[in-house]
Symmetry: C3
Subunit: 344 residues, 3 copies
């Protein structure tokens, strides 16, 4: 029985989502209140007044100069979660405080630590440097998923589904037909799945964005850093082109497809997606096309996974699925997540 | 606590519903995939890919020459449920198969056997020959019921409700006022409830379809073959007319009202209904009238039974209802169903 | 764990709601059928036929000369809940009866006793005489609350929330800023909370209805008689005005704000509200203004409490809230309710 690993960093939002207003999002079952202070720091605390549970993000609750005033009885908290005013008395109870969450802004994301605050080590946050690099242009979005996060992990670790679920958009027959190699780095906490296709049809997603005509070499190198961050290093090149020994790869087009997989509850997920490219930098037409195409693909996943969540809800206890070679990466990811669940 | 009998035949659909496309319906809690093969045989198997549970009826899953291709990762099954292709490898796991359901097409219905396949004996399927007989003209439909099937069994075994719930359509005061006789054939598995009314008002349902004017003899002879098939042999005739000793009954009008009562889940039911008549054969005006009238009556039942399901959901545990003479048939049916539940 | 006290009187409706038609309302989880007989007496019985549970308020059930006829099979009950007719037989089973509820009409309300009928003592029903007094003009309404009744008790026992949740309508800064005194009369079963503000801003609710200009003395004297009846004796007067020793108080305006807090289910509540004033008697403009203003305020409460019910549903087990001085009355009310729950 998979649950949600605690004592972990999760992406709660894009940095661009958090401004100088109250913002609420539920992460791993915990409703969290965010705002950006006048010092431009993102603060995070439980979105629930200690007094009578009223959500501090719910009007008429309001933000007044970096203090949030509860809309029910006026309990007031500063950006550190300390209660600074209560109604009808001058003395503020010592226990009247909201424990702030550890927050790190990095690579365009707002990361929060869910679990024991003392274990929050920012150096453990995995990186996605392309998303803010001047050498890349990125489009991004977020789709809500009414399915458990592990279904999205399964989905992304096995890209053979592109051929079927995303045929006509990003999938071609060669994806499902080409075997994968899987590598698990237990110490670093990374699952790697690679599929190098030497000669493939070019799907519209890449044909329209790169301008490549004819068949292509298509490399998919996945790195999943459980529980939250997933990157697909995608390399598209004319057939026969390979990188030079020094890494130079001038004929190829590189796309870093990044997902942050954040449980909202046990049965719903925030599906953050980003597409960073090293070509057509700043080209708004290409950006618009890739954003729309990837959103379409993500929504196809969302529709399918929402159905699977319903299937699981209705099926008899003890139902067993069947796995084959393509699932090697997904099964490794599940084992790693299971261990993270046990360890917390 | 009534549940759903297993090791039983249930009506899953009308034959006319299953064509050369994927068709899905949940029977007794089991989602089942149907299609009619190029040999015109109806095939049935679980509507859930063995790999990652994706419904095989859900687009982009599709039927290709009597093979169904899963829309998620391309697992492919033939009409016998055998997996014939999986992505990324040539070897197909021995356990990659969907166990087909026993299916019989008979009397306009598609019957499936729910339970242990080895016990599926087609000779146990009860008959409703009128539905395909050239001596009868039949109208039919199906209404979804958001209530447990046993509430519909109760409803149909006690027709005194026609006077109240269906007054103005098919009920008249004499139905509720006339006592019933009940007979239980345990060996054959049949509950019979009869009500012969010698002199009754003719309700619009029969007045408009038969053309009879004035008062009528109205006989209702129910045969219920648990769990699924119910027939009401309805005889309408001028007052005083009785069948001859040899069975000849030229002055009477006969209607065979057939219901197939199929649990969808523990709390919802497929309510199949058919009205077969031995008069006005092929008369489209009479057919349209009877179809519309019976649909109206069935919807009155559906509305009432949906309410009862909600009443049961909200009532305290251990609530006891009170039964009287009119319930003799319904109580016998419950006992027989209870025994079928225990026996499976 | 608070539940719903039994063996208690609850307001089921306004007298004006019950006429010579079937009327159904669920009180403390029990669906109850009401009508006013031709003798103008309100009768109450379970809204569920003893036979097959059909709601007697649900069409085609109908009232025929003080007898209710079940719309499913025609079971017929008189105003005392006695079954007087069943279909298909003359003998009526002795157990075929609906136990009537004790009902008292008083102070514009229809009170019903939930629990052991033998314990129903009308003298224990708390009074709200202003609501039918010729010396007062009353406006009233009822709002459905999708939250447990105890959240409404909390809400009404601590009026400091007026400053925040109802700012601009009925709240001003002085309400939350002024300490309360609390008094618990265990024998009489009354919780009293008083807040006397000597010099306060006059909120629109009172400014527009009384015509008072400038600052006011504002007294709030709450009496809560668990579980159901709550009165706020509100006194508004020019600053400095106090009642004479003999009680005469000619410069003040008095408003009796009465709430009946009736659980519908464990998680929903009927929120009856009345505003009775001793000024502008019969003035329709003032009545319309106070009705609209109080409805607005009640709906602000409803919106907030509906949110709290959802917060509770999602929070981890064992979550603890924090209480301060303003909660003294609410906590006393909870203890009294807890005792009533245990005693029944």
């Amino acid at each position: 029985m998979m649950t949600i690993p605690r004592d972990q960093w999760y992406v709660a939002a894009y940095s661009s989502e958090i401004g100088h207003e109250l913002f609420s999002r539920t992460i791993c079952g915990e409703p969290i209140l965010f705002w950006r202070t006048r010092d431009e720091v993102v603060t995070a605390m439980p979105d629930r007044c200690v007094h009578r549970r009223f959500p501090l993000s719910q009007p008429p609750s309001r933000l007044v100069e970096d203090q949030v005033v509860c809309g029910y009885h006026g309990f007031t908290y500063d950006a550190g979660g300390r209660c600074v005013a209560v109604p009808g008395q001058a003395r503020i109870p010592r226990t009247a405080r909201l424990l702030p969450y550890a927050v790190v802004e990095q690579d365009s994301f707002v990361w929060v630590f869910i679990g024991d605050h003392a274990k929050a080590d920012p150096s453990r946050i995995p990186r996605a440097p392309w998303l803010t690099s001047p050498d890349y242009t990125t489009v991004a979005g977020m789709e809500p998923l009414r399915a458990r996060y592990s279904l999205l992990v399964d989905n992304l670790l096995d890209l053979s589904h592109e051929t079927y679920l995303h045929g006509g958009h990003i999938g071609t027959p060669e994806v499902a037909a080409t075997p994968i190699t899987t590598e698990v780095d237990e110490d670093a906490g990374i699952v790697r799945v690679s599929r190098h296709i030497d000669d493939a049809e070019c799907p519209p997603f890449y044909a329209n964005s790169t301008g490549l005509q004819g068949r292509i070499a298509r490399w998919q190198d996945i790195e999943y850093m459980p529980p939250c961050l997933y990157t697909l290093h995608s390399r598209i090149a004319p057939v026969g082109s390979v990188p030079a020994p020094d890494g130079a790869d001038p004929d190829a087009f590189h796309v870093e497809v990044v997902y942050a997989i954040t449980p909202e509850t046990a049965h719903s997920t925030h599906d953050f997606w980003c597409v960073a490219r090293d070509f057509a930098l700043g080209d708004e037409g290409v950006s618009a096309f890739l954003a729309e195409s990837n959103r379409t693909v993500v929504r196809q996943d969302v529709e399918a996974l929402d159905v699977l969540e319903q299937v699981i809800a209705a099926e008899p206890a003890g139902y067993q699925e069947l796995s084959i070679n393509i699932d090697t990466g997904g099964l490794a990811a599940r084992r790693m997540l299971q261990r993270l669940c046990g360890a917390s």
